[in-house]
Structure formats: C-alpha cells, structure tokens
Amino acid sequence: MRQVRIEYDDQVVRQFAFASILFGAVGLLVGVLIATQLAWWQANVAPYFSFSRLRPLHTNAVIFAFVGNMMFAGIYYSTQRLLRVRMASDLLSRIHFWGWQAIIVAAAVTLPLGITTSKEYAELEWPIDIAIAVVWVVFAINFFWTLAKRNEKHLYVALWFYIATIVTVAVLHIVNSLALPLTPWKSYSIFSGVQDALVQWWYGHNAVAFFLTTPILGIMYYFLPKAAERPVYSYRLSIVHFWSLVFMYIWAGPHHLLYTALPEWAQSLGMLFSLMLWAPSWGGMLNGLLTLRGAWQKVREEPVLKFFVAGVTFYGMATFEGPLLSIKSVSALAHYSDWIIGHVHTGALGWNGLMAFGLFYWLLPRIYRTPLHSKRAADAHFWMALLGIVAYMLSMWVSGVNQGLMWKATGADGTLTYPSFVETLLAIRPMYIVRVLGGTLYLAGFVLMIWNLWKTVRAGSPANAVVEVVVDDTPKPEDRVSIGTVLAGRPLWFTVLGFLLATLFVFVSAVPAVLLAVAVLVVSEIGYLVAKRAAAAGKPSWFGIIERRPLAFTVLTLVAVLVGGVAELLPTILVKQAVPHSGEAQQPYTALELQGRDLYVREGCYVCHSQMIRPLLAEYQRYGEASRAEEFIYDHPFQWGSKRTGPDLHRQGGRYPSLWHYAHLVDPRQTSPGSNMPAYPFLATHRIDVALGARKLELMRRLGVPYADEEIAAAATSQREQAATVVADLAANGVEVAWDSEMVAMIAYLQRLGRDRGVAPTRTEAVATEGVAAGGGR
C-alpha cells in the first residue's frame, strides 16, 4: 500500500474536445451543403465545391475530425483515471494532438482540389497516409507506455476496447493504403479489381467497427456509469461481447459487396458473420442501458444521460439494421440506395453524435470547474438533435425503399416499369428536401451546444485534476502465474478447437459436415461445463489473468482480429483461381483511357455512379449482363462505387455517341432533364499532362498490367491518335475541343467502360461475342 499524488493531463483532453467541436461544426455544415446539392443541383460550384468532391470531405471530417477528436478526448480523460496515472509523455500527447489537426487541415485542402485515391473513407493521398500512420504510432506508444506505468493492475473493459481500437486501426490503415506513388499527390493502389474491392471494404467496414464503434463503447463504459452514478451491469457480459465483437467484426466486410463479382463463398461469410454480430453488438447496448436500472428517473432530469441513453439506443438500432441489411435478399433491394445512407447516419448522428454531445456536456463543466451554463438549452439541443435524426432516417428509408422498388419494378410483359433512371431520381426528390431540413435541425442544435459550452467555459477556469490515491501493490494470486498459464488457458484452447472444427466444416461434404457441426456443439458444451466447474472451485479466471497483462491481452486481441482478415483476404489475393484471369480478351487501358480514368477518380464520379452490375434480372434488363471478376483485373484502384445517385456505368461504353457524353458533361440536364448531377464544363478547357501518360503505363506495369515496351515508348503518339478519333467525331457534330483536353480523355475512358476495346480499336479480332450482343437494351 502506498499513497500517490497524481496530476492528470486534462489540457490535451480539452484541446481534443475543442477540436472535435470545431471540426464537427464544419463536417455538419458540409453535410447540409451536400444534402442541398442533391436536392438543388444549382448549389454545386465547379470544380472545387461540387458534390462529388465535397462528399469525401464530409465523411472524412465527420469520421476522423469530429468523432476522431472526440474519441481521443474521451480516451485521454478516462485512461489516465482508470490506470491511476498521468499520460506517459506530455510531448507525445502534444505531437498526437497537433499532428492529427495538421492531417485534418491537409484533408480539407486536398479533397476539394480533387487529390484523392477514391477509396471510401481512405481518400487521402499517400503523403497524408504516411502522416496518419506516424501520428497513430505516436498515440499507440503513448498509450501503451501509460499502460506500462499504471497504478491499477486490472484493466477495465473500457481499456480493452481502446486496445482493440489502436491495434486494429493501425493494421487496417496500413494494408488498405498500400500504393505506388506516381507524383507527390497521386498514387495507384497495389491491389486491383476484386482484390482491391475486398481490401477496401475490409477496411471500410472495420473503420466503422474500430474507429466509430469500439472506442465509443469504451467511452460509454467509462462515462455512462460516471454520469448515472450506477454500477456497470455485468463484467461477464463485457467479456463475452468484447471477444465475440472483435473476433466477428473483421469477417463482416464482404457484406458491402453482396451480389458483386466477389466470389460467393466470401459473400456468404460476410453475410453470416454480420448476422452473428447482432448479439455481440447488443451486448454493449445492454451493458449500457442496464447500468441505468433503478436510476431511470435521472434520465428525465439530466441532459447528459438523455444523450447517452438515446445514443446507446441508436447504437442498438443501427446494429440491428446492419445485420438486417446484410441478408442477401435485403441487400438486393437496399444496396446502392439511400437506405444505406440512412443507416450510416443512424450510426453517425445517433450513436456517435449523441455520445459526443453527452461527453462534452459532462466533461467540459468538470474540467472548467463550473456547472453547465444552461441545462434547458442542453435539453433543447437534445430534442432538436433527436427530431433532426428522425427526419433524416425516415426520409432516407422512404427514399431508399421507394427507389429500390422502382429500379426493380417489372411490368406484366417482362420489361422495366421505370426504364428511365431520372424518373426514379425525381420520385425521391421530396425526401431529399426533408433530409436537408433534418440535417439543418441537427446542425442548429449543434450551434446551440457551442453557445452553451462557450458560456460554460467562459464562466470557469481550466485546471488539471489532482488526486491522492492509495495504490495496492500487493501481488494477487493471478499475478504469480507464468506466461505458460496464459498460453494454456482453457477458454483459449476450447475456442481454437471450436474454430478449427468450424473451419473444417466449411470445406467438407454433407456427411462429415454434419459430424463436424455436432463436434462443434460438443466442444462448446464441454467448454462451458469446464468453465462452470472452475468458477465453482474458486480458481482465478483466465480472463482475469490476461486482463492484468496488457501485452498478452493486446497480442490475443490482435490475433482475434487478424484471423478473419487473413481468412478472407489471403485466398482472394494469393490464389489466382479465386479471381478468374481468363482475361486474354481483356485489354489493358490505353494511355489516354488511363488519363481519363484518373479524371474520373479526381472528380469523384464513383461517389454517385457504380461500375458493378449485380446478377439480378432487373439489372440485366437495365444495364446489361452482370459484371464479372475478370473484367476488372487491370483496375488499380477499383471503381465499383457503393451508391447509385446516378445509374451504373459499367457497360456504358459504346452505348451513346461521344457527342452525348460531351453534352452530358457540360450540362447534364441537356441530355437528362431532371438530373441532379453537377456540371463539369471545365473539362473542355483544362488540359491533360500528356507526358505523364508514359509514366502511368510504366507504373501500371510495375503493378502487373502487361504493357509492352513499345506501348510505353509510344504513349505520347498513341494518346494523340486515339484522341483524334474522338475530336473528329465531335467536330463532325460541330463541337471543337483540343485533342489534349480533359474532356477528350474522359470521353475515351467512358467509351471504354465494359468493353475490351475503346473508341479507336488497335486490333482487328472479331466481335459479336455472346457477352456483347446479349447485353440487354443495346
């Protein structure tokens, strides 16, 4: 026993909280702006402030700036107190803070400039990606160093979630950002097509899991019982839901790729693990809500608790909706539609937003040693936020289901009821206006919070908390065990055995599969009985042992997380047969088409247009034959998209004359009256860097695209020749554009989509293959 005096570093907590509030306001404001642009296309300001460039700015600002900074504030505050020690290094804390803000500013500058990798929530280009990795490692060192210096031996559940966050985000970010740089602001993903899509959504889904969920669960576990002044409901529920959550989440990424060209076994794994995630997710919600049992009357009086309770409830809703949307037949209706947009905002506005507001209203008055300026204003904020979310969610549900049904509606004669895509867009426009109203209400509540907290902060003065605590250093029996005891833990080996049997189950035929399923059941039952007997005998639990050993705990977490990623990514990347390379007919892009493709990426076309026709009858009728994996083998990065505000473009090549594309890009409403697409007239005057063409081919060759030396050497002339055919075609229709204008490159790329060859064929084999001719609607 010894007495220690600790001064916590609350300055860094304050800084992160203010940064979160500042960037949260920016992120919400951009959100309202882009919602307005979808309802009224006139709100687009080309080229820097068009929807397609601002949408990544909105998502990055909300995820990494608003929630990111809020998460760090919560982690720095609670970690020091749960470990009874100041952060290990003030310097590292400062580097973390200022480094993170510099990254955010870099993102805010580069994204409107069109500097992007086009990988959703990972759009930032490679120099910023490196900075993110460095700052994250600084954070990790500071955190684990603090763990090493701790005065509280046993790690509380909040810290488990922080550990899972730190190690997993590092792995996700590094693998998904692997790319070869072309220039300081342009790189190509080392993965292509199906592999790139799988890596991206393994990342994308787990960014939601380990950036927007696990750290916020950790924050809930600290701040909710603090605010409610009630005991946390169940330690054993924490154990079960933590380990099942971190293990299962990683597998669920392919649910973003249902009905795509991803191999079907991976799609099924994605769907099933998403369904199995329902209970682990609800475990977190239950531990939060049941902590309030016997204290529900406090929710009426205390705005902080209102925010926490509603936030946790939205978490429960979102994590029920997620598994639901992962069911293949539901995904067939909802994917590419606004239902998904509604779903993610249930999470972002409901779970993340309300938890953040609860945190700020609780935290800042404590750090500034003064009561909250106005409880009534905080109450008003709560109701404004809640109404705003409801308007947002309902409008997106209605819009998504409505449009999804219209896309697939088929008449008695077997043809599409709504063959014009614009028709389905015009039908949901009223819902787009309701969304603007909902978002504005939510933003107004946020502004009210800023005022309220500003008044609070001005009334108080900040100070680092100082506490005197008694530290109990007497070793417990749990601490006298060796590393061998950790490795020989029965829960560990029963899990490994059960998992191995389940893995075998996947590969075998019917009869052994039934036997293996029974074996899994028996192993689980024996495991349960053994654990029960050990607990009855009063033996220290294995979980209790590893929760006192951060290194062992971290390694086990990392293993649990890596299993799913390795199982899904490695076969798809390493086994050639997983993605058929029968692509002899598949020609690499020409230099001009690559230039056009980079413009497609720069402008963010993928934000609203997919390039992935799903194997569904209605899509066959609307867009043509379902996309096949081998058609994307040269796509670094893939451009499948995840949302159809406009129609799919995969088989767009050759469907319209070049004049149509010119007119459509200059003024979309000229060819598609009622469209809400931003106009891109500047493409006709901006020039491409022709000299870069050869370097692009060369880099692509290093990534495995088969270009011959002559093709690379002739890149400049080949660009001019191919451009000449587009220019001549346009000139015949009275449109004059320079051959090296961005417009020509873009049209060359668009005319190439879904075809073996582009506008100027270089070879003379026959066409009339089944795949081309059978594409319906041609």
Binding site: R81, L82, E152, H154, Y156, Y222, P225, K226, P231, V232, Y233, S234, Y235, R236, L237, S238, V240, S244, Y259, E264, Q267, S268, L272, F273, L275, M276, W278, A279, P280, W282, G283, L286, L290, P323, K328, A332, G414, A502, F505, V506, V508, S509, A510, V514, A517, V520, P615, L616, L617, Y620, R757, P761, T764, E765, A766, V767, A768, E770, A773, A774
Partner: protein, 185 residues
C-alpha cells in the same frame, strides 16, 4: 430477462469509483447469439455444402435463361433468338444446308466473297448484327443483285441461316474479295 437476486448483484471490481457488477447474461440475448451461430452453419450447409438451394449467381443465370427464352418465344426473329440458335447444333445443321444451297454460290463456300461481298472481313455495307443479317437474307437488296430469300425459304429456315452465318462466317477474316463498306469494331 433473467431475475437478479440480491446476492448476484455483487460488485467484482471498482475502477475510479466505477463499480462493476457481474450479473447473468440475459437468456434472450444468449438465444440470439447461439441462434445466429446455428443459423450460419445451417445456411452454409444448405447453400454451399450441399447446394440444396441455388446461390444468387445460379438463380440469376436461371432467371436470365428464362427471360431470353420468353423473348425468343415472343419474337422468333429477334437478335436474341438468333443468338440462342447459334448454340443449337440442330439449328446450325439446318442453317448450313441453306448456306450451301443458297448463299455459297455468290458469297463463297467459306463466305470469303465471290460475286457477293466477303462476309468474313470487318467491312460491312449493311451492318453485321444478327438482326442486320436476317434482314439481308429475308428482304435482300434487290437493286444490288441480292434477292430477298424470305418468301422462298420461309421464316424458319431464314432465321437458322442467319444463325449459321453469325456462328460460322462472320468474323473469320478470310482472304477473299476486297473489302467493301465501312470498317466496324
């Protein structure tokens, strides 16, 4: 929800004044956890281990095949109908008979062109799609010396002849009569 008797509500840990209890897991929650795992094994067994039910891709192929068949029935002279016949050996055999007896005299045994144009190169005067070829066979271009064969050989044999031309002549790129018409992709 499981009942919580007072002795179950024991506090197991305290961290920074946060008490942690160790209550039972609610039974309905366990039912969801175990139920979803059992369902997953069953789903895999049905769709992947045994294939008792078709996967989405298999279902899609069946749907498309049914759609194409319905379209062929509704319109036996559509491009889709002609393409479907190119996969039928019987139809191609009948089409070949028509080719040998009716077409080969002017277009050559392989379609390389004699009096009529070369049908194997990539230059076309009147288009090379299945529907263009069928139109040429049935209506012909009387002013250019190609008679309309539709009234003579009948619609059924016309379609099969078109299928044969699509499958075995178009795109062979044989040396023969010099190119005529416009080049195509």
């Amino acid at each position: 929800m499981s009942a919580t008797s007072p002795d179950e509500r024991k506090v197991v840990h305290v961290y920074d004044d946060i008490e942690e209890e160790d209550n039972h897991l609610p039974n309905w929650w366990l039912a969801i956890l175990i139920g979803s795992i059992v369902f997953s094994f069953a789903y895999w067994f049905v769709y992947h281990t045994t294939g008792l039910r078709p996967t989405p891709l298999a279902a899609y192929r069946a749907d498309v095949a049914a759609l194409v068949e319905a379209r062929i029935r509704a319109n036996p002279t559509s491009p889709e109908a002609i393409l479907a016949l190119t996969r039928s050996p019987e139809a191609l055999a009948e089409g070949e008979v028509v080719w040998r007896t009716t077409c080969a005299a002017c277009h050559g045994q392989q379609g390389e062109g004699v009096i009529g144009p070369n049908l194997t190169d990539r230059y076309w005067i009147h288009g090379h799609g299945p529907e263009d070829i069928l139109k040429a066979i049935t209506e012909g271009f009387p002013t250019k010396g190609m008679p309309g064969w539709g009234p003579i050989i009948g619609p059924e044999r016309s379609v099969k002849a078109a299928a044969y031309v699509v499958a075995h002549v178009v795109g062979k790129d044989l040396p023969g009569r010099a190119p005529q018409g416009e080049p195509v992709d």
